[in-house]
């Protein structure tokens, strides 16, 4: 039996003053559909039979939990946030909140998810392609600012792994939105050949206390007291043991550069944005030796270069392709010329996260998609007043 959330709208649709959520939306005639089940067990199975989940069990999106989220945000379920490609599903606050609930979000996590959705809908992110490509990229959500501590995001040990509700729930909610609203079904619309585990949840946070450099969102134009989400479409994280507890800055940078420029990664072949997650020990050691994020980028740009004759073995991208590395070479026919991983220093998103660790100084590198999309996009997180 289907009903409409409009039946209980009196408690949801209390007129409220604009709180920052009113800027992009317009009213539409869409009401959130509902279905009825007899038990929690049925609810869990219904989510599978309806195709609402990508394989993991979900929190049943009960009317009460969805309404609680809408109340917290102070929005109407029918207000449109955007259209999620490739299916071009209409993202309303109603279905966004339902996906947030299914992912395990508390109401206060939902503004973070909404900021991530808005970031993914920026034109330069090219979400249509990110969702459909044969590449394995998934949107990596990086949370920065005071909200990291306020909501208990994990920015330290095991930052890419489990252990934190905030990271897991926000990451799951983003994925479920891409699934249920964007239609990113593997083998149907999402043609990712390999995929990666980040397609279940892919959310990390930047550490504020251990980051010796500018916060990510400040680099990207926001104020330090703001909180923000930055999304970049990336491969899964590749660990790099830098030995930064023992090594010189030059040695650390050499290890980072060499580990980043594998010739089969998409960024090496076709440019675009990439994410370097610098562990706090490595960041602090580099900072103590005078390195800033900007000078780290410059150093890596110089170091991360491989001979054309080696890179040319990879036919992943080929010369006619407009993003192919040969187009940034002075003489693409000179086999000794060096191919840069980093075509522009602005393409390296650097954030500080992870445990302090031992002297091994672990970092992670996430190659991106290519210069045509999946590029870093940042949105301020707007907290309802």
């Amino acid at each position: 039996m289907e009903a409409s959330i409009a039946q209980s709208e009196t408690s949801v649709l209390v007129p409220r003053p604009p709180i920052g959520y009113g800027c992009l939306e317009r009213r539409c005639g869409i009401s959130l559909k509902t279905v009825e089940v007899d038990s929690v067990e049925d609810a869990i199975e219904r989510a599978y039979s309806e195709g609402w989940t990508d394989g993991l069990p979900v929190v049943p999106p009960t009317l009460g939990l969805v309404q609680r989220g809408l109340d917290y945000l102070g929005v109407e379920p029918s207000e449109i946030v955007g259209t999620i490609p490739p299916k071009n599903g209409i993202a309303t606050y109603g279905n966004i909140v339902a996906n947030c609930v299914m992912g395990g979000c508390l109401p206060e996590h939902m503004p973070v998810v909404i900021a991530a959705v808005r970031a993914m809908l920026q034109e330069r992110f090219t979400l249509n392609g990110v969702q459909a490509t044969t590449n394995s990229v998934a949107p990596l959500v990086i949370v920065s600012g005071p909200i990291v501590e306020q909501l208990g995001f994990n920015s330290r040990w095991g930052v890419f792994g489990g252990g934190s509700r905030a990271n897991a729930a926000v990451g799951r909610a983003v994925r479920l939105i891409l699934w249920n609203i964007g239609g990113g079904y593997p083998g149907k619309i999402d043609m990712s050949t390999m995929g990666h585990p980040g397609k279940y949840a892919f959310c990390i946070a930047e550490d504020r206390e251990w980051n010796p450099w500018l916060p990510l969102h400040v680099e990207r134009g926001l104020d330090e007291q703001d909180s923000a989400v930055t999304v970049v479409a990336t491969d899964g994280p590749h660990q790099i043991g830098t030995g930064s507890g023992y090594a010189s800055a030059e040695q650390v940078l050499t290890v980072l550069a060499d580990s980043m420029m594998t010739i089969g990664n998409a960024t090496m072949n076709a440019g675009g944005d990439m994410v370097l997650v610098v562990g706090p020990m490595t960041a602090q050691n580099l900072a103590a030796r005078g390195y800033t994020k900007a000078s780290v980028r410059l150093a890596l740009q110089q170091l991360a270069r491989k001979p054309a004759e080696l890179v040319a073995n990879c036919l992943f991208y080929q010369r006619p392709h407009p993003y192919h590395w040969s187009h940034v070479m002075k003489d693409p026919d000179d086999p000794t010329e060096l191919v840069p991983l980093i075509r522009d220093v602005g393409q390296v998103v650097i954030t500080v996260a992870g445990g302090m660790g031992s002297g091994t100084g672990f970092c992670s590198f996430c190659p991106g998609w290519h210069q045509g999309g999946g590029l870093a996009c940042t949105e301020k997180i707007i907290i309802p007043q």
Partner: protein, 94 residues
């Protein structure tokens, strides 16, 4: 027994995406090709276009390319395709 009410999280496809018209086409009608310009499909797409011209000599064939392979075609391109064709062949490739 009281029921549990679940909210559907699925996003309804926007108007342009959910239209599904019955295919009406004749060999002497108007056909458009809309190529996504993916470099790996250039050769096969050129072949498709030449086959259309060869096999359907009475048809009016219009060809369109997307500028951005990875983004959806802009609305004005779609409008142009719709205005100039009864049937469109849309190319993909990666």
């Amino acid at each position: 027994m009281s029921k549990i009410v679940l909210c559907d999280p699925v996003g309804e496809a926007s108007g342009s995406a959910k239209k599904s018209l019955a295919l009406r086409w004749s060999p002497d009608g108007r056909i458009a090709t809309l190529f996504n310009n993916h470099v790996s499909s250039h050769r096969v797409w050129k072949r498709v276009e030449s086959l259309l011209a060869e096999r359907l000599p009475k048809a009016s064939v219009s060809t369109f390319d997307k500028e951005n392979t990875f983004a959806q075609a802009p609305a004005e391109v779609i409008d142009n395709v719709v205005a100039r064709a009864d049937v469109a062949l849309v190319g993909v490739g990666a």
